[in-house]
Symmetry: C2
Subunit: 294 residues, 2 copies
């Protein structure tokens, strides 16, 4: 490898921790060497790999799709309506279609919608430093996976393009599907019944189900990622935990809890302090936030 593999990371302790970790676990002469098949890295998605403000991209998709389907609603109505309103929105926008149709709708949306503040397409709201990290790891024999609270089908519709990951490495919450013999042959029809909410302690459980190995690197940004980072830290190998902190009101957002669902960061930050996990301070550690050319 020539040149700096992480050009969008400023020369701070966070970058140093990443570079040193990757060098050690991939050096066959190191006591901390980890064989390639065990180099598993897991990432939260919203707020860790791309922007989750002012609302999760999937919620923006749902609101746009509801309007497109002739049933417009708003964040305010959702708040007022509570869980029944959210379920109604989910049923309207995520259910009653085949997985193929849903994927197509997601891709259409991703190609046309743009972020309300930055005016970029949503796929261009990914963090350039994290793309570089994914590339660095991939180039060093790691397999990178996403474990997100977002819907698996929604994320996969554009994850391959954005992150260069095969669909099987993008895992989120899962809704029930019904297998049926449709007009065009066998198909899976999405329902509004949620089978797995991939957050909190479910993340290690999903990692166990989908990978069956303990990761050695984990990155997250809220308390919903804490269990995933703890699970990773308990690997017998040397591990690295990254905690992305939203500190940049100018270039992205500055916040320590999610404004919609209320997910906080206090437990995660406390654990980060206790176990000396690596904090990634967006304002201080990143030279750029978004890919310049998208």
């Amino acid at each position: 490898m020539t040149g700096d593999p992480l050009p969008s990371w400023l020369p701070t302790p966070a970058k140093q921790a990443i570079v040193e970790f990757v060098a050690e676990v991939t050096d066959p002469d190191s006591a901390e060497f980890v064989p390639e098949p065990e180099r598993i890295a897991v990432f939260d998605n919203d707020g860790t790999l791309w922007t989750e403000q002012p609302m999760y991209a999937q919620l923006a998709f749902a609101l746009d799709r509801a309007a497109e389907l002739g049933h417009p609603t708003s964040l305010e109505e959702l708040h007022a309506g509570g869980m029944p309103a959210l379920t109604e929105l989910l049923t309207l926008t995520h259910a009653g279609v085949t997985t193929d149709e849903f994927g197509a709708a997601c891709r259409r949306w991703a190609a046309s919608a743009s972020h309300p503040r930055f005016g970029r397409p949503y796929p261009a709201m990914v963090y350039q430093p994290m793309l570089e990290l994914l590339d660095l790891l991939d180039g060093h024999g790691f397999s990178c996976w996403i474990f997100s609270g977002g819907g698996t089908d929604f994320m996969r519709a554009f994850a391959a393009e954005i992150y260069g990951l095969p669909p099987y490495r993008v895992i989120g919450s899962v809704g029930a599907t019904e297998f049926r013999d449709g007009a065009a042959g066998p198909e899976l029809v999405k329902s509004a019944t949620i089978q797995v909410i991939n957050d909190g302690p479910q993340k290690p459980a999903s990692i166990h189900t989908h990978i069956g190995q303990r990761p050695i690197l984990a990155a997250g940004n809220t308390d919903g990622d804490l269990a995933m980072l703890q699970w990773t830290a308990a690997s017998p190998h040397r591990t690295l935990q990254l905690v992305v902190q939203h500190t940049d009101a100018e270039r992205e957002y500055a916040y320590d809890h999610d404004p919609i669902l209320g997910a906080g960061t206090s437990a995660l930050y406390a654990a980060a302090t206790e176990y000396q996990w690596t904090l990634v301070d967006m304002a201080a550690d990143w030279a750029v936030v978004y890919p310049p050319d998208r």
Copy 2:
């Protein structure tokens, strides 16, 4: 590649169908060429890759483990006790332990138990022709996955060794786990609550969740595999469906329904006839059944 990649297959139409399919979809000059990332093959496990008679290996494991734990029971008692007895056995032998402890118990069992009729260790009850098929596919850019009704944790304990597959490609039924901070750090404790029974129409749903792509090759042996084969057949690519038929009472078993759970084959065989799927007649198509050197 030199020599015959499938030496344990007799020169019959089944072998010819496999060889011809692999050649076509991997030939860049063929109209039926399939790019490597889309060369997905899915296999049932019990009765398709290894012997499921006189009872599923996992049931043999459960009975052995129950005895080891001081609560011996028998098939007869299970039959008489119905579902409550089966749940009790599952709770006793599969729950209340961490995933690490359970994996270790499975590996100990696999290393010590032997098949009641053939006297071989269970890992040596795999079908040599299917091992050769997995190797052939792997050597031609396919990724092979297992989708079984058996437990994911049970299968993974020795799947890597037997089939040469990473754990993430071995998917079965899934029990709930509880994430907790144990004495030795974070751990997942298995419970007897079954979250996913990976059979029938659930197989395509699991394939969608775990792979997110449609396979182009599927192999199974009972009606529980029908939906998986249908799902595969609906791929836009050329596909191959293999139906393993147990016709060899001497070298293996001859049966068309499972004696324990009663899974039949009539719907699968009817579909195989209707869609001209490839029948694999164990007696007529396989030169040997089990690996000779184990």
